[in-house]
């Protein structure tokens, strides 16, 4: 459930909003960064740097964009990906990223059902795109090389895959980000 008051406050750069965002979203942001960086301290630094940068910038987020949480998740993921790809440990980090099929979502059975059904609606190619681009954090060039297809084709496949997933989540009533 979106907290519009918090989103507006964050967009305005209100002091209390930063603390609240930190308190509320840190666990998820940290977990996402940790999955990529495989180091809790590096992940913490990454999250802190991103939030601080957004905070200082002030105009990075607008509620019209969508959920603040989604925006922050993507900002942190982008930063973590950049740090991961710049890391000398990149190969080790990548090796630890598990493919989607190993993910068993079982904390919330209702959520689990929705997400599982949405993913199951993807075509094999779309599911593969999601796995490569999201779960394995592969670059476009890496995916293109892996599949032996032009970069432009891969871009289209990935975009279509994410849109299909979005549509499937809507059908499942799970798009309540």
């Amino acid at each position: 459930m979106r907290d519009q008051a918090l989103e507006i406050a964050f967009a305005r750069g209100e002091a209390t909003a930063f603390d609240e965002v930190y308190r509320r979203f840190l666990p998820r942001l940290h977990a996402g960064a940790s999955r990529l960086l495989q180091d809790p301290q590096l992940a913490q630094d990454c999250v802190h740097d991103v939030l601080f940068r957004l905070w200082k910038r002030g105009d990075a987020y607008a509620p019209e964009r969508g959920s603040l949480e989604a925006f922050l998740v993507v900002c942190v993921r982008n930063e973590a990906l950049m740090r991961m790809r710049n890391s000398a440990r990149q190969d080790q980090l990548r090796a630890k990223l598990r493919p989607a099929r190993e993910y068993t979502m079982e904390t919330d059975p209702i959520e689990r059902g929705r997400i599982a059904r949405a993913i199951a609606k993807l075509t094999p190619l779309q599911a593969q795109m999601v796995e490569y681009a999201y779960f394995r954090a592969m670059t476009l060039a890496e995916i293109a090389a892996e599949l032996g297809k032009p970069l432009g084709t891969i871009k289209s496949h990935i975009s279509a895959a994410l849109r299909s997933l979005r549509a499937a989540l809507r059908e499942e009533g799970a798009d309540r980000a």
């Binding site: 308190r23 840190l26 666990p27 998820r28 940290h30 977990a31 996402g32 940790s34 999955r35 495989q38 180091d39 809790p40 105009d59 607008a62 019209e64 964009r65 969508g66 959920s67 949480e69 989604a70 925006f71 998740v73 993507v74 993921r77 982008n78 950049m82 989607a100 190993e102 993910y103 068993t104 979502m105 079982e106 904390t107 919330d108 959520e111 689990r112 997400i115 949405a118 993913i119 999601v130 681009a133 999201y134 779960f135 954090a137 670059t139 476009l140 871009k155 289209s156 990935i158 975009s159 279509a160 895959a161 994410l162 849109r163 997933l165 979005r166 989540l169 799970a174 798009d175 980000a177």
Partner: protein
Amino acid sequence: MHDAHVGESAELYALGLLDLEERAELDRHIVQCAQCLRAVGEAEETVLFLERGSQLGASAKKRRLIAPVWLAIAAAFLLGLLPSIPLFVQNARDAQSIAIRNAATIAMIGSHFAHAQFTPVAAGAPSAKVIYARNGAWLYVIVAGSHRYQVETKDGRVLGVTEPRGAVSEFLLASPPKSSTLQLRSNGALIETARLGGP
């Protein structure tokens, strides 16, 4: 992109597949284009779902395993395993979230805990200890071995399996069922037991 809409770049942006220059260009565009701003927001929300899914999955196996660093250090101290503290700290990396870890830590700081040594019932059983909150809020089993050991109550109720971390294997359970005795099994064989209720 100043004139054209973002198109498929919205999804690529949300997945972190654009380079810095491309991202900056898209950022400049969506400031002036509400349609593309929303398209990017929708792509981001889809990624948020993937993130939720992956975190649920990543944490689900250990959703009841919470390993605050201070507890790991206490356990290490009790077992004389201080040199292996980094291994315990490693386990903290797998905690479901900092918030839960903090909550657990606060709860544990506010509780009194006791410990009991496991007594071997089979040859070659490794040293093991259970540390537990006196109010029954949690228990923590640590074994000086690098295998997985099944932790169960005396009546055979399986509580979980220890996770190897280097030279030790550990297990932390919140809200365990009441039991005066815990048992450890290795490959199905009962190897040691511990009576709870001691100092």
